[in-house]
Symmetry: C2
Subunit: 398 residues, 2 copies
């Protein structure tokens, strides 16, 4: 992780889970497998915090030094736990693998620690309480850590937490509307609200508005106001996703979907099919990257393309109609635009994207100018396409 | 970042860049916008390190407290820099925006600091040297930070670095071969090499083998050996990508490509079109998520699908042939498999993926069993598809 090539996903996961209990993280540290450095780091962060969670370094090899470093930092010592010893031996027997003696290192607990039994790996965690502070050790392998976090750590924490220490939050995902306009809207709506903290997390084409407060009642009032004022562009709330909500909407109406993509190159199809079970409502799509593919595979007229170019609402509607017919779908959607860096000979500036929807009731189209570089434009375009489809269905389209 | 929803991409970027100069990062810390906490953190990490890079908190608002915290930690003070004042005023004038007086805070330098002039934003950075240690302040906005890192920080560092402090590294990207086999191979090849550090970074379907050493000559020997033993599965080296190398291979042969995707839902097309200029060789594709789409749009025979199911090498070749013809491409490639979580009625177990390639010279096919959950299987399948195509072309196919 310290060479920058492996993202620190454990910290992100743990922080998100703690925040779901209303706990705020004040400090995150990544340190290498050096026993003295780890000891100094733990000493320092224990001083600055009420609770410290350490992941990694609990395995059987020489560079697994977390147990020793923690015992050192707490001026304590390690004790071999016999139950854990037997558990580790049994695990190896079950896997039919011979156990190197070094594996029994994993049965060493900091004096007074409660063992957290790993369900997936061999490295047990440890729950340590000192002077009203908590120190929790978990394995570094993300799957094992997540399992232990849910099964052992969160329930224990939840038990020990006082109501006054909890901060509540509400997350609203808004799409296809510029970030600055959303900020102004929210700011105006919440002008008189104290004790409500607002933060934004923008991704291309999409923004998460997060309200948080120590006052749960005030938060719920504020959330209702913001939810109403942004209702038109609301695509998901909390852990839900635009892709999942669109799928639910299609499934509940018994509608099938097909996509025609140009500049997004398959990204819309890829996002729709992230959702398990999407084959219930997704028929497939056509990636028409060239003029010729738009004509041959989607039936867009040569004259129209010659006259208007590919970045055009009429072209987008013809593509949507074409893909709907060819894939026997209830709805066809289409994206065609210039993602850059060059304009590819189109008249429209980079970032201009046309969207089309075709249903048995007729066709609609939109044109957006999306900011950023090639990757941002492509991601924003695919988000806007999914959002427009979702809004269209939610508006009562059949 | 401390709520876990914004990944700490700045740290990853900075660490990667430092490692390109042969510098190792020993500690990474994320701390909130609290002046005392930031001061304590800086004091602590300065003790433990030869160089500290701080990003964020250099803006004009009240919660931008990095300058004050650093001055405090160094027992120093802030001095207003007149050149910077004028620069900031000029910037606002150029943007036609009125400047709030608080913006001039950004002209405050820690005594003795060299200002690093931001080219993209208004927040200048600072380069501070104390007792043979370096402390560098940069803005937190990734675009501004990256710009300053390349233009100001890396050249300065490069100048000050002694040869003996540099660690060299070589990165080989290997695809379509199981991680464990690669590990064994590399281990065997390098058994007699000392002073060579090997690390692996696995992504679904792909693994990066990184060799590093303080001994540049030994590293180059080791790299040559590993490169040769893994040549068959080598898809890229260093900063190059599989997608980019595949594109170069297609372009140099004047070949065009079309893709037929089932379980990957568009991911292969999306990855090919990440590369700017991919329209030179990518015609498009067909996402055939249903049996019917495979028949109607790709001409796969109903009998074949009924007899063999969709996860089958013959079906994959028929899809590749179909998409090649329909998109008038030189090469057609196809992916069909079960990504899970359910088997979708197919006979093959989850993770089984068939790949097909069709060229004017004939057809080839492969079958893989890929591990992991739905997202991992899809990503691995798209990587394997791109890698097999790249290997096929590199092998001399026309």
């Amino acid at each position: 992780m310290l060479d920058g090539r492996v993202p620190d996903t454990n910290s992100d996961y743990i922080t998100t889970k703690l925040s779901s209990l209303g706990l705020e993280v004040g400090l995150r540290v990544v340190v290498g497998d050096d026993q003295d450095k780890v000891r100094d780091t733990i000493t320092w962060v224990m001083e600055a915090s009420d609770m410290v969670i350490v992941t990694g370094g609990l395995g059987p090899t020489d560079d697994d030094i977390t147990r020793e470093a923690v015992a050192d930092a707490l001026d304590s010592r390690l004790e071999r736990n016999e139950d854990l010893e037997r558990l580790i031996e049994a695990l190896f027997e079950k896997m039919g693998r011979e156990m190197a003696p070094s594996n029994l290192k994993q049965a060493d607990l900091v004096a007074g620690a409660i063992p957290l039994t790993a369900r997936l790996g061999t490295a047990p965690g440890q729950w340590i309480e000192r002077d009203d502070k908590y120190l929790v050790l978990m394995p570094g392998v993300p799957r094992e850590m997540k399992n232990m976090m849910s099964a052992d750590v969160l329930p224990r924490l939840d038990e020990r937490l006082q109501e006054k220490n909890r901060k509540s939050s509400v997350s609203l995902h808004i799409a296809a509307k510029p970030e600055s306009e959303i900020g102004e809207l929210v700011h105006a709506e919440l002008a008189n609200m104290q004790d409500i903290n607002v933060s934004y997390r923008a991704r291309p084409g999409q923004i998460e508005v997060r309200l948080s407060s120590w006052n749960a009642q005030q938060l719920s009032g504020a959330a209702a106001i913001v939810r109403e004022s942004l209702a038109e562009w609301l695509v998901a709330e909390g852990d839900a996703t635009l892709e999942g909500n669109l799928g639910r909407e299609l499934r509940s109406r018994g509608l099938s979907l097909a996509v025609a993509e140009s500049c997004t190159g398959g990204m819309v199809g890829e996002r729709i099919t992230r959702v398990p079970g999407s084959s219930d409502y997704f028929n497939g799509g056509i990636i028409a990257y060239t003029y010729r593919a738009k004509q041959d595979l989607l039936g867009v007229s040569n004259d129209l393309l010659k006259e208007k170019g590919a970045v055009n609402e009429e072209v987008a509607m013809a593509m949507a109609q074409g893909v709907k017919e060819r894939l026997n779908a209830g709805i066809g959607i289409a994206i065609t635009g210039v993602a850059g860096p060059g304009s590819g000979g189109e008249k429209e500036p980079v970032g201009t994207i046309a969207f089309g929807i075709a249903t048995r009731e007729g066709m609609s189209s939109w044109k957006y100018r999306l900011p950023g570089d090639r990757e941002m434009v492509r991601e924003a375009a695919s988000t806007v396409a999914l959002a427009l489809t979702y809004f269209y269905l939610r508006g009562g389209a059949k």
